[in-house]
């Protein structure tokens, strides 16, 4: 799919907890087709402190209404500016960027996410469901105050939750969940996105259980489309660009 630089109009900015919000963007023209796992580079104007675009993965898409949703965590200067966006504001994006999750031959998938890393898993779950693949979400959060938009996930599959303090779901990290303890029988694919330490543990789990696993990685990017070579990940094939050869990698190729 050809990459585009395009202006969108923000039609909704919905806060989902103290740090996270969902931006809904509308296009005047038919959207480019996007795949689960892909991302956009957002331009944040108005500050010399924020020179570069910000890579944000797709959370949801509605081709009929020509809208794209992004789940954003306020972490720094750029995302703080985004958090202040109001309906009617314009936002320029380069999209669609990167590769995508693969699901050929998959029957039953476990989607393991933590923090803002749950974002690409929502669109993935929707795509899997549309392809008659049963998704189960296993999502980890700090505590009940940091849950992210759970009803949106429940539309597409069963949602299992862990929190560090046990205030919702099971106590501990996603790796401590009883579904993991019980051996993951029946699952033939694991997808993961979240903090690196979590993805690495999930990759190890997948290897132990001999389940194929894909992780969506994060990295600091300047361009997002393969020119600058800033965002490389060390892999068995050498240093690969997270923005082009990724962000989705099979975990047996990643050198953590």
């Amino acid at each position: 799919m050809k990459k585009r630089v395009q202006d969108f109009t923000i039609i909704n900015n919905r806060q989902v907890n103290s740090e996270y919000y969902v931006l809904e963007l509308q296009s005047d023209i038919a959207l480019a087709e996007l795949k689960a796992g892909q991302f956009a580079e957002l331009r944040i104007d108005g500050s010399s402190e924020v020179l570069l675009r910000r890579p944000i993965s797709f959370y949801d898409v509605d081709y009929k209404n020509q809208t794209i949703s992004l789940l954003i965590q306020e972490v720094g200067k750029g995302t703080r500016k985004l958090a202040e966006a109001l309906p009617g504001d314009k936002l320029n994006m380069i999209y669609p960027l990167g590769n995508s999750f693969s699901y050929e031959g998959v029957n039953k998938a476990l989607l393991i996410g933590g923090g803002v890393g749950v974002a690409p898993l929502l669109l993935l779950g929707k795509v899997l469901r549309n392809n008659n693949i049963e998704p189960t979400f296993l999502l980890g959060f700090r505590n009940k105050d940091y849950l992210v938009d759970i009803p949106s996930f429940e539309k597409h599959g069963n949602v299992l939750i862990t929190t560090d303090d046990g205030s919702v779901g099971e106590k501990g990290t996603v790796l401590d969940h009883s579904i993991v303890e019980s051996g993951l029988s029946g699952f033939d694919k694991i997808y993961t996105c979240g903090p690196q330490v979590m993805m690495r543990a999930v990759a190890k789990l997948a290897e132990d259980k001999r389940v194929d696993c894909e992780a969506s990685l994060e990295n600091t990017m300047a361009c997002g489309f393969g020119a600058c070579l800033c965002c490389v990940q060390q892999t068995i094939h050498g240093n690969l660009r997270v923005c082009v050869e990724g962000p989705v990698f099979n975990t047996n190729e990643i050198i953590w």
Binding site: L51, A227, C230
Partner: protein, 303 residues
Amino acid sequence: MVNLAVKIGDLEFKNPVSTASGCFGYGYEYEDFMDVNRLGAIFVKGTTGSNRDGNPYPRMAETPAGMLNSVGLQNKGVDYFISEIYPRIKEYESHIIVNVSGSTIEEYVEVSEKLNELDKIPAIELNISCPNVKEGGMVFGTHCPSAIEVTRSVRKAFTKTLIVKLSPNVTSIHEFAKAVEGAGADAISLINTLLGIAINSKTRKPVLSTVTGGLSGPAIKPVALRMVWQVYHSVKIPIVGMGGIMNATDAIEFILAGARAIQIGTANFIDPAVSIKVLEGIEDYCKENGFSDINDLVGALET
């Protein structure tokens, strides 16, 4: 009609707008966004004698009005360039100029000799100013006798247009400009990135894996303009100016300071079609200000 054609050594650029090495891949990364054939030249990624993996990540840190990088010349080497990349880009209507990098004089010479054989490579840009490799690179560009020696050696190996890219990490850049001019350079490009550090106060660690990196973006523009102006008044060979050009106005400033052509670097990451906007903006400036030839603006700064 405005004449936008400029000459860099014996080589005519159809217009003064080109894209900087390391910021434009090999050109095809930008094909979705713009017609790369409209550029005067494309300076492709730094190319070395053999494969280089580059530096560990993190390789990039955003800084006020700029960015630091420490990519470290990741590329698959000159032989891979010749067999896999050159066939894909040699039909571009813009000049393809390869940025030649190395750790030793022998490596610079080897790469230059191989590129000399390629019909559609009319020029090289000798990179003696990469701040992100342990050996070679900036060492050649910050020590005058080394700059002379590497330029002389490559001059013997490369018969076409030789552009030498200077490092700004020196006290008197015009001395280096004069030195490489004397050693046989046909043109000078400047500036490469400025050496800097980004620090994370929370972790009390540097942001980049290599501690130091090269600063680019609008933050360096005043320094770059000063250096272009100094070099313009020190040498006779043409200058390809760069350093934080974000728009046509910035480009005009470089031309007024003495640049005959300009390169756009970091701005490509933010607006991948910016180079075409700069090209159109330069033409508009000439029309609006009554200049029929871009060459009349080169070094026209009134002081």
